[in-house]
């Protein structure tokens, strides 16, 4: 018995650091967690037609198709396409209060400059940091050179109106507009979360940079759970606001808008980034053909069961022709 015992004890001892940091695949499977390989292979690869990627990889194109489909989008102030036009930015924004400059083909919050107000050639960020005219011009030059864009390709700078976010969200986000990410699968909004920026995420709503992700109940738009750095939290780290009190107003309308992204793009598996404007209501900020997996952590549940439910529905031949019907079905099917 001696040897057998000592070996198994040793194996256990060797495995201990492993089991402290890693979990078993079976457990993840039981929870229906979608992994990167399965996402790429079974969903993005299968449902997203590559020829349609340019529609969503270019924010300008997304804006146009969304507008054509009747969706509200942040107003376009202008586009700067080449270096010679860079100095025109000051003239361009002179009649607008706040504005945002972003690369048309950026992602993950890269290269987004949010100016909340400006006066006599002095520009101010939400944090109060001041920029002069050269700073703004340099940012656009970098954007045009492709510094922030996929594969470093040359790009254009999109200048759009600043979104004044809904008062309900005051104190849920620190120095940045919170956005709502909805995963839309074949036109069905199956999971959602709100991303709130924090001081450590530097005003950007990127979860891996330290933003807070709040999982949202599909049926009601109420918070179910919140995480930062993969760990559950109850209060916003900077504003101390209790995160479980978050409720998204105009929830159904927002889901409707998200669901219509399927008709706009023809892409089967997308992440729609939505914002709630104070006066204009829900808007489409951008669409994503390769949405991340962190939404599962924020909601505390896996995407797989929901994806499979929709797949099963489709396999039965059930046809929900309109976005309204699809949203209505989701409100029932995915209530938590």
């Amino acid at each position: 018995m001696g040897i057998g015992h000592s070996i198994s004890a040793r194996v256990k001892w060797l495995m201990m650091p492993f089991s402290r940091h890693f979990c078993r695949p079976k457990k993840l499977h039981q929870r229906g967690i979608l992994g990167m390989n399965k996402r790429n292979h079974s969903y993005i690869g299968r449902y997203n037609d590559r020829s349609k990627y340019p529609l969503v990889d270019d924010k300008l194109k997304t804006k146009f198709i969304a507008q054509r489909a009747g969706a509200t989008v942040p107003e376009l102030i202008g586009v700067i396409r080449s270096q010679v036009h860079v100095p025109e930015i000051h003239q361009m924004v002179s009649d607008w209060g706040g504005f945002v400059i972003k690369p048309a083909q950026g992602s993950g919050g890269k290269g987004i400059l949010v100016i909340t107000h400006h006066k006599d050639g002095r520009y101010f960020k939400a944090s109060g940091a001041e920029l002069n005219q050269q700073d703004v011009e340099r940012h656009i030059t970098n954007t045009l050179a492709g510094l922030f864009s996929l594969g470093g390709k040359n790009d254009v700078a999109v200048v759009e109106n600043l979104i004044e976010f809904n008062d309900n969200f005051v104190d849920f986000s620190y120095e940045g507009v919170p956005d709502i990410r909805v995963i839309v699968f074949q036109g069905y909004p199956i999971m959602a979360m709100m991303r709130c920026s924090t001081a450590s995420s530097d005003g950007k709503a990127n979860l891996h940079q330290g933003a807070v992700g709040v999982g949202l109940d599909i049926a009601t738009g109420k918070a179910v759970r919140a995480v930062q750095h993969n760990q559950p939290i109850s209060h916003h780290p900077d504003t101390r606001r209790a995160l479980n009190t978050l409720v998204i107003p105009d929830w159904q309308q927002l889901l409707l808008l998200a669901a219509s992204a399927w008709e706009m793009t023809g892409l089967g598996y997308i992440g729609a980034d939505m914002v709630l404007d104070k006066t204009k209501g829900p808007m489409v900020l951008e669409l994503n053909a390769r949405p991340g997996l962190a939404i599962q952590t924020a909601n505390g549940c896996g995407l797989l069961p929901r994806l499979q439910k929709v797949e099963a529905l489709k396999a039965q031949g059930a046809a929900h022709a309109t976005a309204e019907e699809r949203v209505a079905w989701c409100l029932q099917a995915f209530a938590t």
Partner: protein, 502 residues
Amino acid sequence: MINRLPFYLFVAALVVIGLALSLYRHSVYGVPWLPGESRAQWEVEARIAFDATGDPVKASMAAPNSQQGFILINESTSSQGYGVALQENEGKRSAQWAIRSAEGKQLIYYKARFLVDPDAEYTIYPPRIPTPHVFEELRQTAAQALLSEAFKQSAGNLTLTREIIRQLNDPKNQNAALLLNSINREDAIVSLLSMRKIPARIVASLKLEDGRRRQVIRPMVQVWDANKLRWQLFNPISGAEGKPSNLLIWSHDYHSLLDVVGGRQSAISFSMIAQDISPQQATREKIEAEDLLNFSIHSLPVEEQAMFKTIMLIPVGALLVVFLRIIVGLKTSGTFMPVLIAVAFVQTQLLTGIIGFLLIVGTGLMIRSYLSRLNLLLVARISAVIIAVILIISVFTVIAYRIGLLEGLSITFFPMIILSWTIERMSILWEEEGAKEVFIQGGGSLLTAILVYLAMTSELVRHLTFNFVGLQLMILALILMLGNYTGYRLSELRRFKPLADR
């Protein structure tokens, strides 16, 4: 859903064909599954290149013979339109090519195959007593002084040689410096020995290293051992005595290795490759030419074969990268950049390679952070980084050379353009995601490169990939299967652990 059956059939077919090819090579050609302790055979190829002037051409090359440690099994030449003759007299062998007229660039290949055999038998031709060499005045005195000094401390031919090399190597020895001023070390040794009527000669030698291309001949000195009645080999530079087992003597006359009449700019270089085919199979190999199934890379000239020895390793590297990304979930900067780095490591050796990589990327990042303050356009910035990388590499090479770190010279093997992109990408990553992400991805790339390097330099892997081409099909099948893996990555087991524990 699409039917996956044809896919799986295809993968199965790849595996079956791959296995069949491998089994065929094993059973019919006798290629062992594992690399042998010592190489059974060497194939050495000389490549003669010259520009013909339009006149009749006669080329003659000294050819090797059986010798201590090696038995010459067969030889062949390939040369378009040339008449070939192999000659032998008094142990001196040579291959001769002739043609009425030729113009433009000419290529002639000569291939010899040797069996490794420590008890190889060969004939020794005793030397004639040499006529003493006479230097011109001043040097003659120096030579005599050096010789008598060396003679005092010696007891025979071999010890005298040893002592001469030692004196020639002594930087403070004035006589030696004077002699080496006008002639080569090996010539000096032979001339000095001739003054004591000791037979010695300069031979042309080749260091056998598996898969090497464009190797050059190195001169070695052989001194007649009057007691044992055989030639003893000396390395004229280091003074090392005796013939290393991986040293092949190509010809006994270093100075008449190649002679081309009717051509200009003649050059000769050598490629070599080790094979593990057992001796019994050597004869059967001859049918190889007619054999369709074996119309494989093994029928190519040795130079190309040697190149394939490296190329055939790339799929193994690719497989490793696929595995590390799909199964482990390791983040690297640039998907196949680590494979290229690993190929560079093979040339530089691991430790030098890692140090070189860190030096280049580290310095590059510093320079790049300055460039980013200059606010340049992207293409100009990358080009500036490329030039900076080239400058870094040259500076480090010069420094390494100056402080005598000869390993440092191999830093030039790094793929510069790839490194520049790596630096650019890492520096953007640094600005946007912070230093931590740079270390994660940089570390991931380096780790992948090291693992790929270890696989590529493993004797077993080299043996299998080169000798069993069928294995490539199996690697392809494996990669195709991995492309279908939809399970969790190891990194996800960690990332989603909080979810599983809920």
